[in-house]
Symmetry: C2
Subunit: 287 residues, 2 copies
């Protein structure tokens, strides 16, 4: 952990945010800032300070592995209630590294064609290749969240899907994909304020959908469905992290840190020359 990146961190947030054994979503305060002692101003500054390291690690990952048939990759899965700030994570955290090394997949309500296949069918082709950072803006977890809350699948089918997800993620991990699953957690009041803002600003109307309120009315059911997801799918190889989201600056900083930790663990190295440097210098000089 380099000194530059830890100005206002008191602890590595990763274990604090992890949905492990005995985790209760109800106990998480969406306004809290686990492991961080600073404020909005220092948070923004610390986010900026870590960009060079994140960009360097991303470039190394890409350089070392993007041409390989198999190799390490990172997959950030983002799930949340509406307005929680997924877009801001993509823009301000993921957007700070080279777009050439990022694969972004946004999963909307499945199409008729997608529904005709198993729920993982549309997910598999979007898994990041070696050397890449993949981001899922919503994911296969919709199929055990909205599907459960809305009764689109019965309990037995939801149970089958949990197992299928765990098997799928184990397969990815085996192939070298480090999976970071994040639930951005805001409070219902915060969501109300953010939705209201969308109704107050003509440049935000496009982000508002009347169905957002319908989903909002099911808030307790969604929280139960998330809790069940954590219990069924927060595994050793693909743990869930619940990131308090009322303070956008904290969520961005925390997720940047989860990415940094994953990349530091991969510790990608600049690949050596697979050519004779001296010969190439001569060829180039003569050209």
């Amino acid at each position: 952990m380099s000194e530059k990146t830890t100005q206002s961190w008191t602890d590595d947030p990763q274990p604090l945010l992890r949905a492990g054994e005995g985790f209760r979503l109800d106990d998480v305060d969406p306004k809290s800032t686990p492991g961080y002692d600073g404020n909005k101003k220092s948070g923004r500054q610390d986010l900026k300070t870590s960009v060079p390291e994140l960009a360097d690690l991303q470039e190394r990952l890409f350089a070392a592995h993007h041409d390989e048939e198999s190799g390490p990759a990172v997959l950030l899965v983002l799930q949340a209630m509406d307005t929680a700030g997924k877009g801001g994570i993509v823009r301000h955290v993921v957007g700070s590294v080279d777009p050439q090394g990022v694969e972004l997949a946004s999963f909307k309500a499945p199409t008729k064609k997608e529904l005709a296949h198993d729920f993982l069918w549309r997910i598999r082709p979007r898994v990041p290749g070696p050397g890449m950072i993949g981001v899922f803006d919503r994911s296969h977890y919709e199929d055990v969240l909205i599907a459960k809350v809305r009764g689109l699948a019965d309990g037995k089918e939801i149970g089958r899907r949990y197992k299928a997800i765990n098997a799928f993620e184990a397969e990815l991990a085996e192939a070298g994909v480090r999976i970071i699953k994040v639930m951005l957690h805001i409070s219902p009041d915060e969501q109300k304020d953010r939705l209201m803002e969308r109704l107050d600003r003509p440049d935000k109307y496009w982000k508002y959908n009347p169905s957002d309120v319908d989903e909002r009315l099911l808030w307790p059911d969604y929280m139960k469905a998330y809790q069940a997801v954590f219990e069924a799918t927060s595994t050793e190889i693909a743990p869930w992290y619940v990131v308090p989201g009322n303070r956008k600056w904290y969520a961005r900083l925390a997720i940047q840190r989860l990415l940094l930790n994953a990349l530091r663990t991969i510790d990608p190295q600049w690949p050596g020359a697979d050519f004779d440097i001296e010969i190439e210098r001569e060829r180039l000089a003569e050209s």
Copy 2:
């Protein structure tokens, strides 16, 4: 044109860079900065100054059109000799807007499967959808550049491809895609310096390929092939721009400006509410 974005521009660079009637690639000085009176420092500052406008226009384009079946999009085609700085354009210009509104396609040497199809087969699915900014890092033009220089296709076939390209691009323009085709133009000496740097720095080895020198030895043939491409495919609806690339800061600034101009012409507007705002305020307040 807002005042903020024109500090050191003396002229709109777009007409100055355009490969129009009578254009000669030989006449372009790769060190020049057409339409711009500043230096590296002011160039970097001016690039930064225009980011908010570019990001705002990009967000409007996305908001207004990304859910439509058809509608405006922007396609930036980047072609260049090795080391000219395509990656820097993607990172520093395109990378300054929301990644969710960008579709990046990088075209390498075609696979066996791709070669079994017409050369446009792999290109078509990568055309940006409505509301998106697409970037082609290399493109269908490889099939009339390296293909010509390396004799992978005869003169008749190259002629057929020019026509197929013009028909394809006319079809895209008809569908609302604004096409900006850019050749980043560096000098052979500048390329030599940049390749040499890749041989001097272990963190750059991965960017070096001995075949770069082979291609470099064919420089005059490539310049002839580019000249022929401009003559055959710099059309009204999809003109070519030759952007001097020895000064990276200028190339970035100029291409940012081409993107700004295209987006300003589309002039995307925030979409109106397709719901009753008052009713939604009430529903939300009660929720």
